[in-house]
Every structure is written in C-alpha cells, then in structure tokens.
C-alpha cells in the first residue's frame, strides 16, 4: 500500500515536471526569449544612403544625416534630438535636461547640416557644384532657420536653387 502511494507520488511529480517543461519549451520555441528593442544606431557612425530617386528622397535622407551629425556633436541619440526639435516646448525641455544653451544647439545643428551636405555629396546625391554653396549657406544659418531645415530639407534645396539663380538649369543636370 505504501509502495503504491509512493509510486503515485512520483507519477504526480513526473507529470508536473513534464507539463512545466513542455510549456517552457513550447514558449521558447515560439520565440519567448527573442525579444530585443529596435536598435538605436550610434549617430557618429556613418549612415548608408539609399539610392535617391527624387528631391524628396534626397531631402529625407538629408534630414536624417543632419540629425545624426547634430546628435553626434551633442552626444545624444538621433531619436532624442528628433523629439527635442519637434516643438519649442520640447526644445526647452531638452536644453534644460542636457544643460545646453541655444548657441551650443545652433552650433551642433549647423555641424549636422554640414555633415548632411557631405554625406549627400559622398553618396552622389548632390554635385560638388551644388554642395559647396549649400555648405556655406548652412554654416551661417541662425538657429530659428536651421531647425526648420533639419525638419524639411527640401526647403534647403530650394534655397540653394534660388541662390544659384541663373544656374538653375545647370543644377538640375547635376541632380541624379
């Protein structure tokens, strides 16, 4: 009788172990331990440009490169800077949190814009003829004009086109 009790006891323990291992094994097989947050890239690392097909695509990648460059200067992630530039309130919060002045932010954003021009030129998205004046333009931009350019770089392209004036037709030839 005692032996039978013992056998039933071991059977119960074995059933519990099998049920537990089966559940854990099934969840592991279904990817239960695979989760990893989306990768946040180091903004100081060069970002690969996709083959741009239009001014809009150049402008988009230009914005991301500019964010990378500015974020690298400030020692923050591109994602943090993107949120900081979205509204004046977010910008003030960001400056307070990282103990930065408007001038330091402006310097970083200008550096970011210069890096974007460099990246675009390196990727063949902008000709050296257009890149040179663009670089000079962004180096002199005040903060309140530099931030909108990071958000929508197509404006920068237009500005450069206006800057070149009569060379407009020539400029279009240099765009891929």
């Amino acid at each position: 009788m005692r032996a039978a009790d013992g056998d039933r006891g071991w059977l119960l323990i074995a059933l519990a172990a099998v049920a537990s291992l089966a559940l854990v094994g099934a969840y592991l097989a279904a990817g239960g331990s695979d989760y990893a947050p989306a990768q946040v890239q180091d903004p100081c690392e060069p970002r690969e440009w996709r083959d741009p097909g239009s001014i809009e695509e150049i402008a988009e990648q230009f914005s991301l490169s500019a964010l990378d460059g500015a974020a690298c200067e400030l020692g923050v992630t591109r994602e943090t800077l993107a949120r900081a530039l979205a509204t004046p309130r977010a910008r003030e919060r960001f400056l307070r949190r990282y103990d930065l002045s408007d001038a330091e932010l402006a310097r970083a954003i200008r550096a970011g814009l210069v890096r974007a021009v460099d990246d675009a030129e390196r990727a063949g998205a902008l000709s050296p003829l257009l890149a040179g004046p663009l670089r000079e333009t962004v180096r002199r931009l005040p903060l309140d004009q530099a931030i909108p350019l990071v958000k929508d770089a197509s404006g920068l392209i237009d500005e450069a086109q206006g800057f070149l004036g009569p060379a407009q037709d020539l400029l279009e030839e240099f765009l891929p």
């Binding site: 519990a16 854990v24 991301l64």
Partner: protein, 455 residues
C-alpha cells in the same frame, strides 16, 4: 446562541473575507496608483503592509486570543477589521490608506486565528475544522482579485473596502453569542495546552511558494492592465483562470498522493507556470492561460499539502494555524518587497527603450520627414500622458493621410510601433516572473528535506 450551521457559515465567511483582503486590491492598484498620484513602488505597500502586519501579528495574537477567549477575540477582530475597512475606503492619501490597511490586518489576524479555535466546536473535530478553515481561506484568496476587479470597474476602488464592513459585522454577529458566554462564565472554549514547536520546513516552504504565487498574481495583473491596457474587469476575467484551475487542483487530495509528493508537484507547477509567463512569445491574452492553469493547479496542491503538514498532529491548532498564516503572508510580503525594485527598474528601462526604439522605428520608416518628427513628438507626449502605462497609439496617427500610398505606409508604421511597444512591455516583466519561478523551485529544498510530511 445562534444555530450551529449559520454560525459555521459565518465563521467560514469571516476567514474567507480576511484572507481575500490579502489579494483583493491587486486589480485596484493601478486605479489607486493614479487616483492617489503615487508611484508603483508606493502603491505596492497597500498590498505589502496588509500581508506584513498579518504575518507579524498572527502568532502573538493567536496566543493572546487563547487567553482572552476565541469568541471575544474573533468579535473584536472583526469589528476592528470592519472599522479599518471603512477608514481605507475614505482615505484620500496613500499614507492614511496604508495605516488603515495595517489596522485592518491586525483585526484580521485576530479574527482568523480565533476562528480556528471556534471551528472544532461546530464541526466536531480539529482535523475537519482545519480543513474547512484552510478551504475558506483559499477560496477567499482565490476569489479576491476577481471581486476586487469587478468592484473597481463597476463602482470604485474605495467600494472594495467599504463593502467589507457590513459583511464583517454580519459574520461577527453569531460570534457575539460565544463572546457573551465567555464573558458571563469566564470559561473559554479552548484549553490552554502547551504549545508544540511549529513545523519549520513546511512553514518555510509555505513562505517561499506564497512569494512565488504572489509574484504570479501581482505581476500578471500589472502586465494586463498597465502593459496590455485591459480594464480592471477584463483583467479580472482573465486572472479568474487561476482560481478555476486551483479548484481543479484541489481535487487532487491525500487519496491520490502523499503530502510531500503533492507539495513537490505543486511547487514544480507554480514554477513552470511562472517560467511560461517569463517567456511569453507575444502580447496575447490566450498565451497567459496555460501558465495560469499550471500556477492555479500548483498553488492548490502545494498550499493545501503544506498547510496539512504544518498542522498535522500539532496542538493547539490556533497557534499552528497562526504560524501558517504568518508564513504565507510573510512570503507574500517578502516576495513583493523583493520584486518591486526589480520590476520598477525593468519598467523604467522598458519605458526608455520604448521611447528610443519607438522613435527609431518612426524615423526609419518610409513616411515623410516632417510627419516623422511630428509622430515622434506625439508618441513622446502620449507616453508622458500615460505615466508609464503602454498606450494605444492609434490616436497619434489620426487623421490618417488621404493619399492611399502614404496611408498604407502610416498604417504599417502604426502596427509595427504598437507591436514594438507591446512586446517591450511584456518583456519588462520577464525577469520578475523568472525570479518568481526560481523562488518556487527553491521551495523544493525544504519540501525535500522535510522528514515527517506524510500524514
């Protein structure tokens, strides 16, 4: 004097009511957290304080109750429990609520241990009394979260406490007859026998498994409400699987296997269930059901087997019952105290990851750059508004663009982002569930070492 049957029912209700209180506020914690504008760590003390005071006072009050008389102790205990319940319901600050919870636990400890002394006179044997007492307590603890969730959603979190007062008073009325008899005659219904030593290993294993079970219940509720955005009533329905499975597990009694085997099997199942919760592959309610079934069956097996072992052949029952109460609730309190810093740190880390990876997903998406920055900011604001709760992000994508191509891109981004946030929230609870599973497995040590566990 009341008739025995109503008095037996009243005693069982008293035990169920008090022990339900150790878990009844679990589903209300997120509401209390927001209503009283406190922190996750702070609100955990609404639960911890009750369990801690119950653990610390159960044995001393059981000794006191044997001197004063169980009738009077139970009557006073239920009155204190009811009064403190009203104070909890009227609290507008966390400090007052926690203080009232401590007083409530004091009254509860008096009532529960005294009832174990009163029950044998109603049912004829100590063994049957212990079984009814344990069953009433387990039923209360199992039903607590669901009842608490229903009341929180249908009425308010305050109603959870206010509704207990009339029930406690109603349960106390039949006990008053015994108290009056004790006062009139000076005779108390239990003899003052010498107290034997408590069963150390069984009580230690009870504490460890209770810590693991508390982790399962508390963390699962937080995951469902804070992580997966279920309402308290929805979460109550989901976690009801655990007590239902416990009912199933309670059918595996001494006739199936000895106490040691049932305790070991129960601890393994609780750990297996917690392991499953630590490894949830997706944020889907259905995936929580198999782990809950394992935890539910396991808790019924391990708690009943260890309580039987701790009480078997030991006198007086009230004192040893007090030890089991102390062990179980100390386990719950220690489990919550140990897990709180771990999961609050994990939640904070998950929040940082969610913001960073959510923004990365938005920035890397094919939508217009200007829209990307706008969406990044709206996501940040939404996470800020929700104070750590993972939000439904549909509203930040409204209105959807009219251009079909851009609309498809935005919808794809929205779904990817929601999946990223949901998986992140689920993952944030994994280490805490894993720690709970490890504690449950460690309980196998005292269970294995216990010599005289067979009844």
């Amino acid at each position: 004097m009341s008739e025995p049957r109503p008095r037996l029912a009243a005693l069982a209700v008293a035990v169920g009511l008090v022990l339900a209180d150790s878990s009844i506020v679990v589903l209300a914690l997120p509401e209390i957290y927001r209503d009283l504008d406190t922190s996750v760590a702070g609100v955990t003390w609404v639960l911890v304080s009750f369990n801690l005071v119950l653990a610390l006072t159960a044995v001393p009050i059981a000794h006191l109750g044997r001197r004063v008389g169980p009738g009077r102790t139970a009557a006073v205990g239920l009155a204190v429990f009811a009064g403190a319940g009203i104070a909890c319901g009227l609290s507008t600050e966390l400090g007052t609520l926690i203080a009232a919870r401590c007083v409530q636990a004091l009254g509860g400890a008096a009532a529960v241990t005294a009832v174990l002394e009163l029950l044998p006179a109603q049912v004829g044997s100590e063994r049957r009394a212990a079984a009814i007492w344990a069953a009433a307590g387990a039923t209360g603890a199992a039903l607590g979260p669901a009842v608490g969730g229903l009341l929180t959603e249908l009425v308010s979190w305050q109603s959870i406490f206010l509704i207990q007062a009339p029930i406690a008073i109603a349960a106390g009325v039949p006990v008053l007859a015994v108290a009056r008899h004790e006062a009139a005659t000076g005779v108390i219904s239990s003899e003052l026998r010498r107290t034997g030593r408590p069963h150390l290993l069984a009580n230690l294993a009870l504490a460890m498994t209770s810590a693991a079970i508390a982790a399962a219940l508390f963390l699962l509720v937080l995951l469902l409400i804070e992580g997966w955005r279920l309402t308290p009533i929805g979460a109550a329905v989901v976690v009801t699987v655990m007590p239902l499975a416990a009912l199933l597990g309670s059918r595996i009694g001494p006739e199936v296997a000895g106490a040691k085997a049932r305790a070991a099997a129960g601890a393994i199942l609780v750990s297996g269930g917690l392991g499953g919760l630590a490894l949830l592959p997706k944020a889907e309610i259905a995936l929580t059901l198999p782990p809950q079934i394992l935890v539910g069956v396991g808790l019924a097996l391990v708690l009943s087997a260890l309580t039987e072992t701790a009480l078997a052949g030991r006198a007086p029952q009230a004192i040893h019952g007090g030890w089991t109460i102390a062990s179980r609730h100390a386990g719950v309190a220690i489990g919550l105290i140990a897990l709180t810093p771990l999961f609050t740190a994990d939640i904070a880390e998950q929040r940082r990851d969610a913001i960073a990876s959510g923004t990365a997903v938005v920035l890397d998406s094919p939508v217009r750059p200007l829209l990307k920055l706008e969406l990044s900011q709206r996501l940040d604001d939404r996470l800020e508004d929700e104070r750590g709760k993972v939000p439904r992000i549909d509203p930040i994508f409204e209105p959807l663009p009219e251009d079909p191509e851009e609309r498809d891109e935005v919808v794809g981004l929205r779904d990817e982002l929601q999946d990223q946030l949901d998986r992140g929230a689920t993952h944030a609870f994994s280490p805490s569930f894993g720690l709970g599973a490890a504690i449950g497995l460690l309980a196998l040590l005292p269970i294995g070492l216990a010599r005289r566990v067979e009844l």
